[in-house]
C-alpha cells in the first residue's frame, strides 16, 4: 500500500465489514520521539483470540478454511519496514483496535497520503456510521466528529456534495496545522 491513508481506508473497510457503528481514528505524530502512530478503534463484532492470531500471521499458521486476508499483513509489513509494529486487541462482541507505528524519519516510512479523500469516501459511502478523527502532535490536537457535523447540519444530509467538499478542505487544514513541519511530506 502506497500510503497511510490507503491503509486507513482498508482498516475502516474491515471495521465496516465487522458491523461497526462507531469508528474512532487517532493519528499521532510526535517529533520528540520520532514516532508516527495510527489507531483505528471500532465497536464491531470483534474476534476470538485464536482467530486473531491467524489474522496477524496468516502464512505461519496452518489454516485453510478461509482465504487469507491481505489488509492486516500489509499494514504490518509497512510498519515493520519503518521500524514500527502492529498491535491488535479485540474482544468478541465488543470491538477491535488496530494500532500501527512507524519511525517518522525512517527512509522507508510511508507518507500520510490523502487523508481527506479517505474520510470523504467513507462518509459518502456509509454516512450512517459515526466517525471520530483526532490528529495529534503532542502539543496541539485537531478533532473531527461526524455526529457533531450532522448536528450542525440539521436536515441537510452529510452526503450533500458541498458538505463533503467542505469536510475535505476542513480536514486538509487540520492536517497542515497539526503535521506541517513534522511529517516532511506535509508543507506547513
Amino acid at each position: 500500500m502506497r500510503d497511510l491513508s490507503l491503509h486507513l481506508m482498508d482498516m475502516i473497510q474491515n471495521s465496516i465489514t465487522a458491523k461497526a457503528t462507531r469508528i474512532s481514528i487517532l493519528i499521532c505524530a510526535d517529533r520528540e520521539s520520532d514516532l508516527l502512530e495510527m489507531e483505528v478503534k471500532d465497536n464491531g463484532i470483534g474476534m476470538e483470540s485464536d482467530f486473531l492470531k491467524n489474522v496477524v500471521n496468516p502464512f505461519t499458521t496452518t489454516r485453510d478454511t478461509r482465504r487469507v486476508g491481505l489488509g492486516i499483513p500489509l499494514l504490518e509489513a509497512s510498519a515493520n519496514r519503518a521500524s514500527g509494529e502492529l498491535k491488535i486487541t479485540s474482544e468478541k462482541f465488543v470491538g477491535t483496535t488496530v494500532k500501527a507505528s512507524f519511525k517518522i524519519s525512517h527512509i522507508d516510512r510511508i507518507p500520510l497520503g490523502d487523508l481527506a479523500q479517505t474520510m470523504e469516501g467513507i462518509i459518502i459511502a456509509r454516512p450512517d456510521i459515526e466517525y471520530d478523527l483526532t490528529l495529534d502532535n503532542k502539543k496541539e490536537r485537531f478533532n473531527f466528529n461526524s455526529s457533531d457535523i450532522k448536528r450542525r447540519l440539521g436536515e441537510v444530509p452529510i452526503t450533500n456534495f458541498e458538505v463533503i467538499k467542505w469536510i475535505g478542505e476542513y480536514l486538509n487544514d487540520g492536517v497542515k496545522t497539526i503535521f506541517g513541519g513534522i511529517l516532511d511530506e506535509i508543507l506547513s
Binding site: 490507503l6 481506508m9 459511502a125 456509509r126 450542525r152 467542505w166
Partner: protein, 122 residues
Amino acid sequence: MKSLAELEEIRKKTLDQINLRTNNQDVRVVVGMATCGIAAGARPVMNAFVEELSKRNLSNVAVTMTGCIGICKLEPVVEVIDKDGSKVTYVKMTPEKVARVVAEHIVNGRVCAEYTIAEAEK
C-alpha cells in the same frame, strides 16, 4: 482556515434546494473497496464519481462501497445499479472512465459496453 461558520452557510443555502427537489436516490454506484481494490486505485475512482456527480448536481445517485467483489485482476470494480435493479459491472476503472460512465450511463442511460466485465471476459 475553514470554519464551522461556513458549514452553517452551506446548510442554509442547501436547505432551500432540498425542499425543491425530492431527495430520492434511485441509482446506486457501488465501489469495491477490499484491499486489492484499494491497491488498484479504487479510492480515486470513488472520489471521481463524487466529483463528476457533484459537477452535474446529480443528487439522485448514491455512492457507496463494499468489500471483496471477488475479481482481483479486474479491480477497481464498480457496479452501477439502476432504479429498476438492473446491475452493470464495470472493471479496471480509472477516473477518466468514471467521467464517461457518469455522462453516458448515468445521465443518458447508455451503458459503456467497452468497460464492462462482459467485454473484459471476451
